[in-house]
Subunit: 154 residues, 2 copies
DNA sequence: TCTTAATGTAAGCATTACGATTACACTTAG
DNA sequence: CTAAGTGTAATCGTAATGCTTACATTAAGA
């Protein structure tokens, strides 16, 4: 089973960015509906997002979720890091015996390699903000609609 | 459970690069010993490596495995791609309903994003060859030995 | 030709991590 | 006081992978 936490959290944040334009809050139920998922799953993901100061949750009646900052100020790297954090992209083997120069040092080497590759990935994510991503989503939507119209016209 | 195929294959290829210097072949048993793993596991990974022309296997008595090319000519990207291939780094959610502009287009958007991030990672891996990696391993080993000597001297 | 040493491959079990759901405690507006 | 929210724990199902065993296949060499 693949890890869907990042795509899920990303969609949540993007939906919150849309709601923010209307100065609205979302409930975990609304977010769950957009995902085709369960509100409890959404709330579980809200915990680390809240801890990272990406969203703000309000308990009680009329409560809900909103972005803690302007979407221009939130990078996808922050979202990824808030959600994933501990898990390394590449995990190394454990219990490798020391029987040659390779087996003895592969652990350190792989750690270096994994860090470097992971940094490259995070840098890429750091170059994108939530605001830009929302613009991109709308660009994709416009293209989709234009395409549908064209097909209908045939 | 984390996917250990890439680190496993990488160690195998590095061990084969060492063996190549001595003009030796390795058996899957030898490689498995260095990994602390089972020969059948090694042989399963040998199949895609062989298909990608990274290693050459020889069946029968006195058979075994060797690098198919010089270690300078094999990038870590090739090793990664040979082993992982199908599996995307980021998987998107399935069955997302179309209830708003975000949920309707998040799939396409995430696909674009995942491709870009994955390319960044593969580029990083493409900049490293097996030969360079082996040199790096030996550098780490030398540093480790120097450190041990220093501690013993205290 | 027979034995031996190797790869190729399929089948089955255990483990792990995550998704999904349910349930309930807690909080706050009106 | 009630309704509408979040916070969180517990449980189950499932998919992917590692690990192991077993056996078929192949080829060298006595």
């Amino acid at each position: 089973m693949n890890d869907l936490r990042f795509p899920t959290a990303l969609q949540m944040v993007l939906s919150l960015a849309v709601a923010r334009e209307a100065k609205r809050r979302c409930t975990s139920m609304e977010l769950a509906t957009g995902l085709g998922a369960n509100p409890a799953l959404v709330r579980a993901l809200l915990v680390p997002l809240s801890r990272a100061n990406i969203v703000t949750t309000t308990i009680g009646k009329n409560g809900g979720v909103e972005l803690a900052r302007a979407p221009e100020e939130i990078s996808l790297r922050e979202v990824y890091f808030a959600i994933i954090d501990d898990k390394r992209l590449f995990e190394r083997r454990t219990n490798v015996p020391s029987v040659c120069v390779v087996s003895t040092n592969i652990g350190s080497f792989f750690e270096e390699l994994a860090t470097e590759v992971e940094d490259a990935m995070l840098t890429k994510l750091g170059q994108r903000t939530v605001a830009q991503s929302l613009m991109e989503i709308r660009r994709i939507d416009a293209a989709r609609i234009a395409n549908v119209t064209e097909i209908v016209a045939d």
